[in-house]
Symmetry: C2
């Protein structure tokens, strides 16, 4: 058992480690235990019928005297692309819309308030090819493209905030492409959009061929279910990106991603969780699953022969809490919906315990960074 077939780390630990020790293992690896959510059986039936995994967990917080618990259910969706990558563009998009619609139905049954899909969820992650057509045809207007309209309908129907990461074409400003997440209120209105701030040049992730670093800063979205932000994919490697969303007030930061086993699987459990700890907020790490095969060969800058896929996306989507605890991951290979019930009061409670914002010395860092970016900057290096 190895590669994409190996179901999940958590299943393996549960299977082999005796209960008394398993408790210690989980405490160290996952922090305070998350309670299993009691989700409706018809949700599990529907998930089984639609062939996707459904898991639910709750994070708890201490009772306060003056604030009531602020309970929010978030949904994280991971999925493979249902059609081959050489199917007509419109058919691929339609198949993904259909798949997501079915998953969102189940999320609604589970009482999800805010749902987030994976990075550029309406398309295969085709940037490995460096070809422009047909992939750029998947780009849409963030404000009124067919996918945004589709999500508006879902949002209104199910009273759910939708975070919809797409490939955006900005027709109003030079027709350029962006890697964007559209945030749609539960009323159906488009709340706004946010763009990927850091673009990878790593292995097959040739995204800088298609779009540039986001120009919208670090917006936060005020929803009836808390303040949310979206740190797209490679931005999770940049602690400052998480920090600015948090400084701007985000209580939940989604990290819709697309990343593969050989490259990043041992980094995956670390980065979003570290961000939850460091920023006193919840983070939701979402990765797609499956292997996507492309019609034409491409190379990967790894001295290996040309090939038509770039390995498997390992899923493993999870939620991390400001106290460092986390849910288990979804499957490494199956489509899935992770429902997590958050008590947002935990953010301020952890802030008051750990005080990272109070002790952060941001004035000093603003000054030091401003110096450090000067071409003639000379760091303090002590020598004998």
């Amino acid at each position: 058992m190895a590669g994409a077939e190996w179901e999940s780390l958590e299943q393996c630990l549960e299977k082999h480690i005796p209960p008394a020790e398993l408790r210690e293992v989980k405490r160290i690896l996952y922090g305070k235990e998350t309670r299993k959510l009691d989700l409706p059986s018809r949700a599990f039936e529907a998930a089984s019928r639609e062939d996707f995994e459904l898991q639910g967990y709750a994070f708890e917080a201490a009772e306060e005297q003056l604030r009531r618990p602020r309970i929010v259910r978030v949904g994280l969706v991971q999925n493979r692309v249902p059609l081959p990558t050489d199917a007509p563009v419109a058919e691929q998009v339609a198949a993904l819309h259909k798949r997501i619609e079915a998953i969102v139905e189940v999320a609604a049954v589970c009482g999800v308030n805010v749902i987030c899909f994976q990075e550029v969820w309406t398309m295969p992650f085709a940037f490995c090819t460096r070809e422009k057509l047909p992939w750029t045809e998947f780009a849409e207007s963030a404000e009124d493209g067919p996918t945004t309209r589709f999500c508006q309908k879902l949002a209104k129907k199910h009273d759910v905030v939708v975070v919809s990461p797409i490939l955006e074409r900005d027709g109003e400003h030079g027709d350029v492409l962006w890697n964007t997440a559209v945030v749609i209120s539960n009323s159906g209105a488009v709340l706004g959009k946010t763009r990927k701030n850091h673009i990878p040049r790593v292995g097959d992730f040739n995204e800088s061929t298609y779009y540039m670093e986001g120009n919208l800063g670090h917006p936060v979205f005020q929803t009836p279910f808390g303040r949310i932000a979206v740190n797209i994919c490679y931005g999770r490697h940049h602690p400052l990106n998480w920090l600015m969303y948090s400084i701007n007030g985000a209580e939940i930061i989604f990290n819709p991603s697309a990343t593969i086993g050989a490259l990043s699987e041992s980094l995956w459990p670390i980065e979003a969780r570290n961000a939850a700890i460091a920023n006193h907020c919840f983070t939701c790490a979402i990765n797609r699953v499956g292997v996507e095969h492309y019609p034409n060969e491409f190379t990967s800058g790894d001295r290996k022969k040309a090939h038509c896929d770039f390995g498997y996306f390992y899923g493993s989507s999870y939620v991390a809490a400001p106290d460092g605890s986390r849910t288990p991951g979804l499957s490494r290979s199956r489509d899935g919906l992770l429902v997590a019930e958050l008590n947002l009061n935990l953010c301020r409670q952890m802030n008051d315990v750990w005080n990272f914002k109070m002790t952060g010395r941001y004035e000093m860092y603003a000054r030091e960074l401003a110096e450090a970016v000067k071409p003639n900057y000379s760091p303090t290096v002590l020598k004998e």
Copy 2:
């Protein structure tokens, strides 16, 4: 089995999980496997005689054409205080000097080039008491206190760079206390000092009663064995602190700490490792072991009754590499020496793969942080 008696996560996994699956578990939890170092048998004999754990691992890097491997051996020391906390101050310090001397002897046999001791290694972590005497008597001059002189002798004798974290009294500037690490060259000369930049106000960690945030910025020390920096204890929760050391050129960042099980054990494997990933450098996380009992009762701000200890330090010292891999942890309860062989070429290699500095957009963050610290700062919050 629980609490401090449970030896280590890694031992438990090794014991219960079948080999084929263990490989996958370790890949996800620890990244690329570190090779066991072949240390001299007389080192193991001495460690056993002196009753401390000895482990050794090597991190490898790809071969390059123009640079030879840059191999460095670092030593991480974790230990309990040998004497009761009410023994005379001079005797406590002498006992710690003696203990460390024995461990450094073994490190030298193992070919260690740079060794780092735990936070304020010459004293119990007495800040929980909020009493001034006798604890402030443990403070010494960084430049020529008895502990610095002791370390200079060790450094010269064993041709080893010594990182010596102490409670510093700065007699030249108002007689104030600092939490400081003195860095001593393998020649025996004092290279300089660096101070703890972030001070906790968390539970029993009443350190702000004793000393303030460091005023030395983020110095890096050029040694014959690479550029090193020291991020002391609570600074590991602050991603910007790691970042500035890295921007200033650190290839190895030591994190001498003192932290307890109930508070932080599930955060421990995350933070220093995330820093190694995010900054393309090696990080060395060091924690003490044991329970320290104090003569007078104190409270912990946790609504519980007054008591004379604040729980067990859980050891688990480890090294993380820029590729996200890490060594197993030392024991959770025993004194120990972790020897890690690093190939510093891995730092630049990972930098060239992941490009976090190139894609970091520090100008933007310098600007955003400078805005964010203004009292009238108004973040971008999008509402319906």
